[in-house]
Symmetry: C2
Amino acid sequence: MGRIAILGGTGPEGIGLGLRFALAGEEVVVGSRAADRAEAAATDMRAKLAGVGCSTSVTGADNASAIDGADIVAVAFPYSGVGDLLPGLAPKLAGKIVLDVINPLIRVKKVFVLEPVAEGSVAEKIQALLPESFVVGAFKNESAEELVEIGHPAEGDVVVCGDHADAKAVVMELIARVKNYRAVDAGALANARFTEGITAMLLNINRRYKAVTSIRILGLDGH
Amino acid sequence: MGRIAILGGTGPEGIGLGLRFALAGEEVVVGSRAADRAEAAATDMRAKLAGVGCSTSVTGADNASAIDGADIVAVAFPYSGVGDLLPGLAPKLAGKIVLDVINPLIRVKKVFVLEPVAEGSVAEKIQALLPESFVVGAFKNESAEELVEIGHPAEGDVVVCGDHADAKAVVMELIARVKNYRAVDAGALANARFTEGITAMLLNINRRYKAVTSIRILGLDGH
């Protein structure tokens, strides 16, 4: 498919996604505010991938440089970084597919809830900040804990939403290449508020059952 | 288990739930604003159940009378009825388990979204209106279309939330008695906002795939 940049890619979710994409044969560029941190993460990832016989290219760069030549740019930093980081990168992200995997999670006492987002969801906020980009929301419900365990197959459905059909199709094709994942098209980008909510719910279920859960959509047989 | 009243039980969701509860051996009382409409629905339900050899008691009554003697009172009317109907019934519902299955769905252009609920979710709003009752949110994601087709087994997980552990345990036991359903405890009642959102998402998926979908929580093996 090509090259995937993962901005804020040194956190567990970014690393987990990068590993899965590399296993699917995609070239990965880890982005970070500091190029040396990105390169350190990429080095660790290459070692982990080599352990399972995968030699796909994984490199590190500062966030802005990581975007160069990328076909898909995933954003995987904490929600607090959205407003800080993206406006400055907007010109470089114009015309690109931006894959948003961010959840606006906060914990109130022992319950995970969503931080209110005026635009309705992180995905819609990012689309508002990047009007020239094609934002697709996906991988909101896939836990970093599971993604990084590359010895275990991924499990569950990846619910995808977006307002740009071509960009969504590219992301769904990418998901289909990640072993064991199925992409489910939930329609418009506004559905991201529901997929972000699912993450909060799953975390509350995880806490109660001491488990790492994911979701599957039943009833789609034949699709 | 006992007797279950379903207020606003003449709509498709109420009828579907009533049929499934009756199949599980629970006595069902269908409630409606008009007793004759409730009795007509109950008559239809008895005929449908007789067709599969089930003779569980299903009767009809006005909403207030339906509450008498019920161990669980489900509320299944449209969201618009919550503020109209429940305050007047609050004294009769005091001390009872109130099973909320309502979603605040609206459709904006072709996309299902949630009507904003100041309390965060319908379940929390109902708890605020009925402070002396034990509100449990469940069956938010089970489509009426699927529930009424009693020839087909139910499919998927029923996510349950509530702030009263004993009431939640009773509802989870009820769910376990409905064939093929599994109850998943999502924790506090505040999680109802997420389960209500899942319904909107599933409806958007249904529209896109021309399907009737439900969800399963993966990763709970052993529970």
